[in-house]
């Protein structure tokens, strides 16, 4: 055993020093290794990548990067591999080693070197091993993570050297973790492997769990250690899971809040049933799409601000549509909520078809700006930026509305008209104007919801339909005429839904909730936060 160990160390030394001695190989050698990329299927390609990486040449990572992006092509005439940049319908070929321009080639004379997921993984691992010594700590960290994912045994010697030289603490930790996974995969002695397991167990993340689960069926000390570590991580993650579900619930709740809060104003405060409310949300989403399209074609550098620009546009579009609907249709129907329901249903059909005629029936792409893409981990809870922003946005809209209703002149007039129309008119409030403004406000808020929903859902003519029933449930459950009720209602329903989902499944969970709401309404016909003794128009 000790001989074997010595041997590995010796081998590691040689292998490890090789790239340090010669960070460049001869151009012809590199060229021939690159030429091998263009021959055969994915199996051959994978071998060729390993061979190319083994050269240790510092030009290799860039070449592999371009391979991963699908920018390497084979010239059919002589089988040589080039960098290819698209120029119109042709490709400009460049020699990957010398950088010499090899001229324009028509599409038919070249063939792209195809990559699939397996090749992409091989590339990531090879590039990782080659960039472990990069001067940039961020690159080193990504490299360590790539090596960890691939558990690449051949990267061990490089890792050892990289760890020895590493000064940044968290990059070093990532490298140690990568070494542990590689060690586990190698034929290192059992004791080392047990230590490696302990090192991985310390990370305690879901990824770590994934690695260790692979070894639970191993016999002996390694298996025992792995089983113990897996059990420990699992019990730790269980608590985090509850937190995660709570987060999902809050996030769903915030979406419901956004969709319902405009309705809470028009239905709750004004007593108008607006079945076209969902279409206001849809208009907001399409406004976002239009804004993004304009930005894409005219000012692409502003793309990251597109949502911010879309907010006022969406608000105004929907608000304007709302005011039009109020003036043309709803104002003739005050005090007749059931007729309003039918008329606005008709309006919703017209709006859907109008959008279909204008934008087509297909889904439209609304992109995520960079600050809304991706996710970060809070402990073991994955938090996606989109959802976080939507929660914050929903709360901001909510607070702004409360402030508007409670603190402004307009809000005062709105409440006055809501509570006693005749009296309000008698003290000089122009009730028709206020009616139109409230309806515009409710619709505008729905438009804002559309901006948020465009980030997580389809932007299609049917967008609104999907939310209308849920929105009504939220408002009715929370208590009509009370924005706080809507807040509590939305969050309760969101969390309850997500807590039920792991047990009952998505559909059954929703059915249970709907039935629960129906029963709840029987018990409290005025919702969770019923306003008591409120003056109502008789």
């Amino acid at each position: 055993m000790s001989f074997f160990r010595l041997f590995t160390i010796f081998f590691a030394l040689i292998a490890g020093f090789q790239p340090a001695l010669a960070s460049r190989v001869a151009d012809t050698d590199l060229s021939s290794r690159i030429a091998a990329l263009g021959v055969g299927g994915f199996d051959d390609l994978e071998k060729a990548i390993a061979n190319l990486a083994a050269s240790g040449d510092d030009r290799v990572p860039a070449i592999l990067d371009r391979l991963g992006n699908g920018e390497l092509t084979v010239r059919k005439a002589d089988g040589l591999v080039f960098f290819a940049d698209k120029v119109g319908t042709d490709f400009r070929l460049t020699d990957p080693v010398t950088g010499v321009d090899a001229g324009l080639a028509p599409k038919a004379t070249v063939e792209k070197v195809k990559v699939n997921n397996r090749i992409r993984r091989a590339i990531a691992s090879a590039v990782g091993a080659l960039t472990l010594m990069s001067p940039d700590p961020a690159v080193r960290r990504t490299a360590a993570e790539a090596v960890m994912k691939s558990a690449d045994v051949t990267a061990l010697p490089v890792l050892e050297r990289a760890i020895a030289a590493e000064t940044v603490a968290d990059v070093r930790a990532a490298m140690v973790a990568a070494r542990a996974t590689a060690l586990l995969a190698s034929d290192a002695p059992e004791a080392d492997k047990v230590t490696a397991i302990a090192a991985i167990a310390d990370i305690g993340s879901r990824d770590a769990l994934g690695f260790l689960s692979g070894y639970t069926s191993t016999d002996g000390a390694v298996g025992d250690a792995a089983r113990k570590a897996v059990a420990a991580i699992e019990s730790r993650l269980m608590l985090w899971d509850i937190g995660q579900n709570l987060w999902y619930g809050l996030s769903l709740g915030s979406v419901l809040l956004l969709a319902a809060i405009g309705l809470a104003i028009t239905f709750g405060v004004m007593g108008v049933i607006n079945m076209a409310h969902g279409e206001m949300v849809m208009l907001g989403a399409y406004a976002t799409f239009t804004v993004q399209e304009t930005i894409r074609t005219s000012w692409p550098q502003l793309f990251d601000y597109s949502l911010l620009i879309a907010l006022p546009v969406a608000f105004l579009t929907a608000a304007l549509a709302g005011i039009l609907i109020e003036r043309l249709v709803i104002r003739w129907l005050y005090g007749r909520p059931l007729e309003t329901l039918l008329a606005t249903w008709g309006v919703s059909l017209i709006l859907q078809q109008a959008v279909r005629s204008l934008y087509g029936a297909n889904n439209r792409e609304v992109g995520n700006p960079s600050w809304m893409s991706g996710s970060f981990a809070l402990g073991e809870i994955q938090i996606t930026w989109t959802r976080l922003w939507i929660i914050l946005f929903a709360l901001a809209v909510f607070l702004a509305l409360i402030a508007l209703l409670k603190r402004t002149r307009l809000g005062l007039e709105m409440r006055a008209v809501t509570q006693n129309r005749q009296m309000a008119a008698a003290v000089g409030i122009r009730t028709p104007l206020v009616d139109a403004l409230i309806f515009g406000l409710g619709s505008g808020v729905a438009g804002l919801a559309g901006v948020a929903l465009s980030q997580i859902d389809n932007v299609s003519p049917n967008l609104g339909r999907g939310y209308i029933i849920d929105s009504f449930m939220v408002v009715v459950f929370g208590g009509v005429g009370n924005l706080w009720g809507t807040l509590v209602g939305a969050l309760t329903l969101g969390v309850a839904n997500k807590m039920l989902e792991p047990y009952a499944g998505a559909v059954l969970g929703k059915i249970i909730l709907l039935l629960a709401i129906i029963l709840f309404i029987q018990k409290r016909p005025r919702g969770l936060f019923a306003l008591k003794g409120r003056a109502v128009e008789a």
Binding site: N117, R120, F211, Y248, W385, S460
Partner: protein
């Protein structure tokens, strides 16, 4: 007529009736062959089906430029069944008995096909059905030019096993018949390949499901068991966009957990930013990115016809193309549009497909198709990474308990859509 008209002048109905009568009078020409188009132009399915209506119109237009069929021009009769299943049956009846169409191209969902079946049988007409479906059917009056499960699902799983070394499987689908059947078949197939039940997770979601947070997290959790995991997605239509958005946001990369989809094509990707999705897969029998002369000509003509060179093409369009050309060829060969003759002639008809090969209509009324696996690219197109030889559509799956003994062969003398090879009987139905 005029009496009725006078008496009910005030009513809307009569006015409509009169308008109608005047339009009906236009239909008298006998020098055309009528082709029915039965795709929803409104309602939930309009999003997918409108494109197919345009495809049929495009194909008819092209055919008429070549001089039509049997020396007569083709004339499209377009109706809108409005995504309403009973209305499908009603419109089919209208097309066949009133407009006297010779053939119908239509339907997307299985339920719409099931709804019109009795009408086509009763009135003896021909339906070309251009969408991938769950199989478990073979009718004399229907030609299935979309994929059966063995022409999509099984080769895709084989690819993942071989190329990606996948050992753990998530079968995620929308809760309706196509995903249910496909997943049943795949489950049996995977188990036959030695995958244990613990390594298969099955999940169903409703139509239009939009909150994928929990399910994507579950997939992630399931994938962290030390074995290479892949998702086989039969998620339908609208639910895909939020699903892929959530995948992208939760950072599930194709290199970690690849997703192979059977219902996601170029059209669905048009609504998503595909940059985070590069490397996820789809299995179809056609991709817009296919490099063939036939495809280039088809796309070019399509763009000219629709007057928009950004419109994508997709698999059901190719299936419509194959079905249409097969029908034209069979009618030319038979020299008549008579339903029975054309049905008999269609079996064995071979026409070029768009991927540079040929499609043959088999005796079970399904066709031969190559299976292509594509990886999503950042431009919303697919890069083809695998391609099989043409596969014959298997209407009765060998992996399902109830149907493994059944075969269909509409040639004489068998002429049966569900012949049981064990009992030797044609089992009812027709």
């Amino acid at each position: 007529m005029s009496q009725i008209f006078d008496r009910r002048r005030m009513t809307l109905a009569a006015v409509l009736g009169a308008l109608l009568a005047s339009t009906m009078a236009g239909y008298a020409a006998d020098d055309t062959i009528k082709v029915g188009v039965l795709h929803s132009l409104s309602g939930t399915m309009a999003i997918s089906e409108t494109t197919l209506k345009d495809t049929v119109l495009y194909l008819i237009d092209e055919q008429n430029k070549k001089g039509g069929v049997l020396g007569k021009k083709l004339e499209a009769v377009v109706v809108d069944p409005a995504s309403n299943w009973p209305l499908f049956a009603e419109k089919a009846r209208e097309l066949i008995s009133q407009d006297k169409v010779s053939v119908v191209f239509g339907c997307w969902t299985s339920v719409s096909r099931k709804s019109v079946l009795p009408v086509f049988k009763e009135l003896n007409s021909i339906l070309f059905y251009p969408v991938q479906y769950e199989g478990e059917e073979s009718e004399r009056n229907v030609f299935y030019t979309g994929a059966a499960p063995n022409q999509q699902a099984i080769p895709a799983v084989d690819y993942l096993m071989k190329e990606e070394g996948v050992q753990r499987w998530v079968l995620a689908g929308t809760d309706y018949v196509y995903p249910r059947t496909t997943n049943k078949i795949l489950e049996a197939y995977l188990k036959a390949k030695g995958v244990s039940a613990d390594d298969i997770m099955i999940n169903y979601t409703p139509f239009g499901h939009s909150d994928w947070q929990s399910i994507v997290a579950d997939i992630k959790k399931f994938g962290s068991a030390g074995k290479k995991t892949a998702v086989v997605s039969t998620i339908n239509g609208d639910a895909n966009v939020p699903f892929y958005k959530e995948l992208g946001n939760q950072g599930i990369k194709a290199e970690d957990i690849p997703v192979v989809a059977f219902s996601v094509g170029e059209e669905e990707l048009a609504g998503i930013d595909t940059k985070p999705l590069v490397g996820h897969l789809a299995a179809w029998n056609y991709f817009e990115s296919i490099d063939s002369e036939a495809n280039a000509a088809f796309i070019d003509g399509w763009h000219k016809f629709i007057k928009n060179d950004k419109r994508t093409t997709n698999d059901p369009m190719e299936a419509t193309y194959i079905g249409f050309n097969a029908w034209v060829k069979a009618v030319e060969a038979a020299g008549t549009t008579n339903t029975d003759t054309v049905i008999d002639t269609l079996v064995g008809t071979t026409v070029p497909n768009l991927s540079g090969g040929y499609a043959t209509i088999m005796p079970n009324h399904h066709i031969t198709k190559p299976v292509l696996i594509g990886e999503i690219q950042d431009n919303g197109q697919f890069d083809i990474v695998s391609r099989t030889a043409p596969v014959v559509g298997d209407e009765w799956s060998d992996y399902l308990e109830g149907s493994k003994d059944l075969i269909a062969d509409w040639r004489k003398p068998l002429s049966c859509g569900n012949f049981n090879v064990v009992t030797g009987k044609c089992g009812g139905g027709s």
